[in-house]
Symmetry: C2
Subunit: 484 residues, 2 copies
């Protein structure tokens, strides 16, 4: 797909370039008031160069094909840390290093499921990350179906013994583009379902996969037990299997399932945040951070989550590294460890770089898949908006000039406490949760042209932020107690 699409795109380049230059000339008149001519010229040069083709999809493809799945502490994770350093050196970054991060280690085992009654069926399921295993022969239990955590509470209020010794099945559907049933509102079932059901005496938990696909592939994701609480096995069934369980439960007949999870929690391992830089030409001690996460879940090859983000930030940095004039500040790429099941990389970075944080002028994270960028979300101090608007106006030829308050990312989130302005590309992502955390998260799902557009937008934004005469106004610092 990559090669097939790249050819027509390059053939289109001259026309696209002409249109871009035309559009830029208008945007520049607005940007002129707030951005120095050198910064504007630098952004324009970068956009023109990127329009002749970028290598974002190449980095993502290579990470997926040469490394593949890379769950924290796994052999794939180690391979990814080595791979990332090689590629950073290959594209001309300096100060390339692996900064150690202690990460949790959880390993999937064999996993099988079946319905035993009222009819026998195979159940397609996958352990949630962090789950304890079932007994070797499997866990057999009668199903108690409830849509949500709140429905479980309501059931327990009526009958505190309602789920004792049973398997609780949470069947709330995540809906596409639904504010009420979106990822954020459904995901607590995955993270807390086992803790809540376990506390009520359940023997196990099944959830409907948190995702929007109707495919028979389950979606994994992190879960956590309550400290000192019971630890019961937890798995996600695929959407069609959830539909089946829901139909069988609704029929009023007794539903009995058996599932077997061979997963294990192992001792912590050492992974790394992989760091590389384009050193600033004037104030190299000041840093614009470009982040993505290097780890992935184990079922797919981590293409959209977050191989895409890795490809985007590596290419964004390469485009800056090859600029005829580098920006004044340092652009630092950080490929974070352990975003998926612990966020240890995102937490470790501010500890390891505490002294530098006042000189981190902005942090941008790409962890929203491989879709086109419509603009940027941003969180910064008062007075930042006109400056960001001036930069964004330069991105209008890409269709990426939107601005929305509230940017950030899981890995860069811990920098907020130190007042670092946070940004993230707002990417199209209608199919993102079809693939997310499932075996379907593979490179064929990446549209190279969209990935290139996002890499270009991020690169231009980072260039400008690293080249502003004055850094963006910072966020108010949080008191140490409030820090995560």
């Amino acid at each position: 797909m990559s090669r097939e699409r790249a050819v027509p795109r390059r053939r289109r380049a001259p026309a696209a370039l002409a249109a871009a230059v035309l559009a830029l000339s208008g945007a520049l008149s607005f940007a002129a008031e707030l951005l120095p001519v050198g910064t504007r010229d630098g952004v324009q040069e970068l956009l023109e160069r990127a329009a002749r083709g970028t290598r974002a999809a190449e980095w993502t493809r290579r990470l997926c094909d040469e490394v593949g799945p890379r769950l924290s502490g796994s052999p794939g994770d180690r391979a990814a840390v080595a791979w990332a350093q090689r590629v950073m050196r290959e594209i001309g970054l300096t100060g390339v290093r692996a900064e150690p991060v202690t990460v949790p280690r959880w390993k999937r085992g064999e996993e099988t499921g079946e319905v035993l009654a009222p009819y026998r069926h195979r159940l397609v399921l996958t352990a949630l990350g962090g789950s304890v295993p079932t007994p070797v022969g499997g866990l057999v239990g009668e199903l108690v179906a409830v849509p949500s955590l709140e429905a479980l509470d309501a059931l327990l209020a009526k009958d505190p013994g309602a789920v004792r010794g049973k398997v609780v099945f949470f069947h709330r559907k995540m809906l596409r583009d639904s504010p009420g049933n979106g990822y954020g509102s459904v995901v607590p079932i995955r993270t807390e379902g086992a803790a809540r059901a376990g506390k009520a005496g359940a023997s196990g938990v099944l959830i409907r996969s948190v995702g929007t696909s109707s495919s028979r592939l389950p979606h994994t994701g992190a879960m956590r037990y309550a400290a000192g609480g019971p630890r019961i096995p937890a798995a996600a069934v695929s959407a069609p299997d959830a539909d089946l369980l829901e139909r069988l439960s609704a029929s009023g007949r007794r539903v009995v399932v058996r599932f077997r999870l061979g997963c294990r929690n192992l001792p912590d391992a050492v992974s790394a945040n992989v760091v590389g830089e384009v050193r600033g030409s004037e104030r190299p001690e000041e840093v614009v951070l470009l982040g993505a996460h290097l780890d992935s879940w184990d079922l797919g090859t981590g293409a959209i989550d977050d191989g895409a983000g890795c490809g985007i930030v590596l290419e964004a940095a390469r485009l800056i590294a090859e600029a005829p004039r580098r920006p004044g500040r340092t652009v630092r790429v950080v490929l974070f460890a352990n975003e998926e099941n612990g966020l240890a990389g995102g937490r470790e970075y501010p500890r390891a770089h505490a002294g530098e944080l006042p000189r981190h002028v902005a942090a941008l994270e790409a962890d929203g898949g491989a879709g086109r960028t419509k603009g940027f979300g941003w969180s910064a101090g008062e007075g930042a908006e006109p400056v960001l608007a001036a930069i964004s106006s330069l991105l209008s030829p890409l269709g990426a000039s939107g601005l929305r308050k509230g940017g950030g990312g899981a890995d860069i989130g811990p920098l907020r406490a130190s007042g670092v302005p946070l940004l993230s590309p707002d990417q199209e992502g209608a199919s993102y949760f079809d693939l997310h955390h499932s075996a379907d998260d593979t490179f064929d799902k990446v549209d190279p042209a969209s990935l290139e557009q996002t890499a270009t937008a991020l690169s231009a934004m980072a260039f400008a932020l690293a080249d502003l005469p004055e850094p963006l106004p910072r966020l108010p610092e949080e008191a140490p107690a409030a820090r995560r």
Copy 2:
């Protein structure tokens, strides 16, 4: 989904009914010239009754949920034969019986695959139906990638030893709505790939799944070895895995795979064609056959292939059985055995009913999924078209009045030699090959409203054919030597 959709549909019924009656009054003026008023009234009554709700989706759901997968000779197959007889009696069919059919028996085992070089990857694959197993420890081999059978021939013409001891990987993509790369043109790779590669000394065969989905679920399907030729293991990899193998092969590096198939060919078993009738009111010895196939592949629950067809023909027959006036001829439902991997049911039926075939006035098969019907394909003798056009005009309120020469079906195909006119609904099916023969063929993919519309159209067509004063002109009989 079934229940949620059924409610608004029933609320809409009065308006839909009014529109249907209005449309019918126009159509009737044309049909009047060729169809007796009693037949027209019978069809109209049936359409009005069906507009108040049908139970097609209920039969399909129950087959999927109460039986599930039902590969020939498996426990599911036996359960399906019992289930079908129960449901036929439940809906008022008579003469319900299981007519024995000897079927091949093939059983899937554990199956795993991996890429060993140039990078380690899991390969998601599934054995093709009929494949021999690999050695217990798996088959390891270097991959030779070719797009097609023709490309293999071309390679062998240059170097007869090109695939000796290697695993041939056929990677032709089936494309959606593509005449050149549709199912019919790609499927010979699945059926003949192992025979052709085995003859050239290959140790195994992998094919890109024959399907249109980009999901990480492989599609199985029948394959056959050449009589007396080598029998090498054959499996289909999912589309994303095929993309990976293609990328790795295109890189020019040596690609080594290992796969393990635990499948087995077992002694033949006895299954059955399940038969039930609505006995004709005037010429009960003359038969309109309504066919679908009861068996399914083992990965999904056989919802669209062909639980949908079973639901359609059962409901079509029920609508006729409950008519205030039954048609003159007998409407016979046949749920065929073993369509997927042998067609033993379709071949057995004309043997078991040889004496009756001259009195089979038409056979209709529903094996095209769960989509809406746009009209009918038909194969009949000269003079049939005006009669079919008159009947079809009565179906215009359903949007099902199209006619296309060339109807038929795998199970009813063997009746052609005896001159029996063959028909099949032309159903919408853009997503059919996304699901076909994969674990994704599950009931949630069935749109109940579309299934009801097709059941209604088929029922009305069957009613009219069973009630015509003169049967449809027959096809020319084939000489016994030409018979399949």
